[in-house]
Symmetry: C2
Subunit: 148 residues, 2 copies
């Protein structure tokens, strides 16, 4: 069954066109948003996760600078516009279902991707073997694991 | 303002507790889901992106095997249950807002994380400088970039 959703990127095609085709047919959710993963282009470190609407996605593709949609502020958000920590996108990919984008990027300015002042938003780990029937602790981690 | 959402993981606290605290307070969306990013534990390659409900997240933490919620099938989904490509989670992290989880994992069996039969779901790139006013092409990529 074709997905009838239409955006400025065009209509979504059948499953085979989405999975194997070579035309970008991003899927936006009911709020008009698509998830966006950002890793560091040079190290592969996981940096941040945010959301884009059509306009943010189009601006990111056209300018090479990461734009997002702030769900809390309900506003377009050019990453680093105030802090100077702009996101220079080196590569963008989508997945089999074309319902997420992944960017490899360089963080300009202070190199801090997280609004808490850290290089990465993923600074706490969740111990495996935790039971959700009790409070699950988090453990601080210093940085992302490097590739071997 | 405290987030009133409650799950089996407990209530969400104030912003400071969410961002700096050491208790896991995952945020589920209006559909009861939280996004989940999966990278390869050994290489850092980006593998897949999916969703978890409370039960899937709890099962993943308790068993160390990746469980998700299939939005299309509306069912709990133990990754690899049929294919044998189970997801052995090595580490799980959450981000500053605790509204996404990231797992470093090993794919068992054939080592194929994508249902299309590929190691990774991210096998197509989107050229930067694309304009969303025309069809945006995708370019096949052979594999994830390695760290230097």
């Amino acid at each position: 069954m074709a997905d009838q959703q239409t955006s400025r990127f065009g209509s979504r095609g059948q499953k085979d066109a989405v999975e194997e085709g070579l035309v970008f047919q991003p899927k936006f959710d009911a709020d008009g948003l698509i998830p966006a993963i950002v890793t560091a282009a040079d190290t592969g470190d996981m940096l941040m996760f945010a959301w884009m609407n059509e306009e943010a996605l189009a601006l990111t593709l056209e300018t090479g600078l990461g734009h997002f949609w702030s769900r809390s502020r309900r506003a377009l958000w050019k990453k680093g516009e105030e802090s100077g920590n702009l996101l220079q996108v080196v590569e963008m990919r989508t997945d089999c279902d074309q319902d997420v984008v992944w960017m490899r990027a360089r963080v300009e300015g202070d190199g801090l991707a997280c609004h808490t002042g850290r290089e990465s938003c993923f600074y706490r780990s969740i111990p495996l073997t935790s039971s959700a029937n009790a409070a699950v602790p988090l453990a601080p981690v210093q940085r992302n694991p490097r590739k071997p």
